[in-house]
Amino acid sequence: MTTAPTTDRVALVRAIATQHLADRGALMPVLHDVVEELGHVAREDVEAIADVLNLSVAEVHGVVTFYKDFRTEPAPAHAVALCRGEACQSVGAEALYAETRDRAADLGADVEVDEVFCLGNCALGPSGTLDGRLHGRLSRERITSLTEGWR
């Protein structure tokens, strides 16, 4: 999460980008590392990365906004991602997703409920991740019990 002052943040982002200078097509690995270290890609990060990798700000911005994984806002305290792929839909994922979104506030103070298209767990759906951990055979009750510590 972003608690570092801007200048420290920029220095860290520059250091991450510099580590990947020798890689071909370094931008994606750099962005993954920035999200991993700092939780999201901020506007000033884009400029720092562009400078270190000798790309235009527009190129980096274009890549950041193309891919879902590169958050541009700070991450929530807790995240639920439920699969809406066809296999999970066949066992009730659409209703589970809609209902979980509706009661997101009941699961905890700062909980994001998002959709994902396939986690490769298609024989044990409905599938989803809770704070990044994969779960199969999800139900309303199971989500309630798994998020107990969030409240």
Binding site: D23, R24, G25, A26, L27, M28, P29, L31, H32, E59, G62, V63, F66, Y67, K68, D69, F70, C83, G85, E86, A87, C88, Q89, S90, V91, V116, F117, C118, L119, G120, N121, C122, A123, L124, G125, S127, G132, L134, H135, G136, R137
Partner: protein, 509 residues
Amino acid sequence: MSARVFVPGDAAAVSVGADEVAAAFGAAGATVVRNGSRGMLWLEPLVEVETEAGRVGFANVEPADVASVLSGEHTGSIGVVDEHPWLTSQRRVSFVRVGVVDPASVADYEAHGGWAGLRRALSLTPAEVVQEVTDSGLRGRGGAGFPAGIKWRTVLETVADQKFVACNFDEGDSGTFADRMVVEGDPFTLVEGMTIAAHAVGASEGYVYVRSEYPHAVAALRRAVDAAYTHGYLGQDILGSGLCFDLHVRVGAGAYICGEESSMLDSLEGKRGEVRAKPPIPAIEGLWGLPTAVNNVLTLCAVPMVLSEADSGGPGWQSYAELGTGRSRGTQVFQLAGNIRQGGIVELPFGVSLRELVEEYGGGTLSGRPVRAVQVGGPLGAYVPPDGFDVPMDYEALAESGAMLGHGGIVVFDDTVDMARMARFAMEFCSIESCGKCTPCRVGSTRGVETIDRIIAGRDVAANLVLLDDLCETMTKGSLCAMGGLTPMPVQSAIKHWRQDFEREGADV
């Protein structure tokens, strides 16, 4: 001596509690191996205990069962897993080691026939390797079914200072998980297949593009690549042959379109994953404009077997080519998913019927209700009604029946499914995941959602169905890649077979 217990580390097993079970066995003093999954996913966590008779399985184990499993008092044994009829009736080639070996152990891989294909390939010229792959009849398992040997020959014969091998491990189709399972359960096979490919086409660098939704597979693959370097199977002068090959693992970032090979190449180059117009084909101008052999995980994982000596003593390519039917040679890894009682991996020679897969292996629906529809080949594949289940599963027969094999995913729906909703979802998915480069896909999918919404609401249904058909034709013929080009397949197959779902009661038809 403590008991040796196998608890799958496969993501599907972990999703239903395998980590907690493994920890409980460890705490009870057992030696725990985190193997891959056998592919009988409805039995996970499927724990195996090593005995003199073989590895005895216990299904759906929970931490509370650990003591009784270890003491031999547990009554829920499914017997020796290797003798389970669901497995013995299959013909496992690509999945032969998955669930059996320890995916973290180079030695275990070698003890189960690993590296034999690479050793033999390195004793052959690149052209000879390409010839054997061609003769095996191996076709691309990503969905397009292009002959692997022909692709490799193009790369081999293209003159360039540098060439690449790229593995498409962006397995984004709902209902597919074979790539994930083979890499999590037997990652060295992919490393070996890619190294053979590098030798065959003259590449010095390789990239595996893994989707970010597969963190377990990323970890398993990175561990395997590191071990392969340590043991001389990657890097400089591999096994003293003079071959130099560096392998990089790269992670996607949540874009389905990057499973399309040219989008994947752009993404690997650090760009937006937008589709490239063809020609040029990647075999001539791929990564950074240089010749690149792009193959799916399962294609590359079949290569070591093709290059090895077969169990019979004959050439591997020959025994591979003897399997299958027509122009679909070898085996296909089918993935049974969705509303299915016995979901998982079924590897069989091409030609098995969809009915046998759904009814016999799958055992029907999980809900116990009648099967109404099956989607074959992912989100861009056709919906097939039960009276079409006798179609043999091979590339040509499926295409002839108006469907496609794709990556081998089979998603089952029971009789509660609303096919108009599924058609709408196909368009919605395309509108969310379109790269935006071509208009038929970018705009057509959004118009498709709107048109189906009007049909579902019962407004001018007959006219809107005509409009939708016209839109589908535009997308099919006018899109740059399979995303926009095949989205009409689930839509039109749903209308064709379940028209009543679109002509709703009380609607103005």
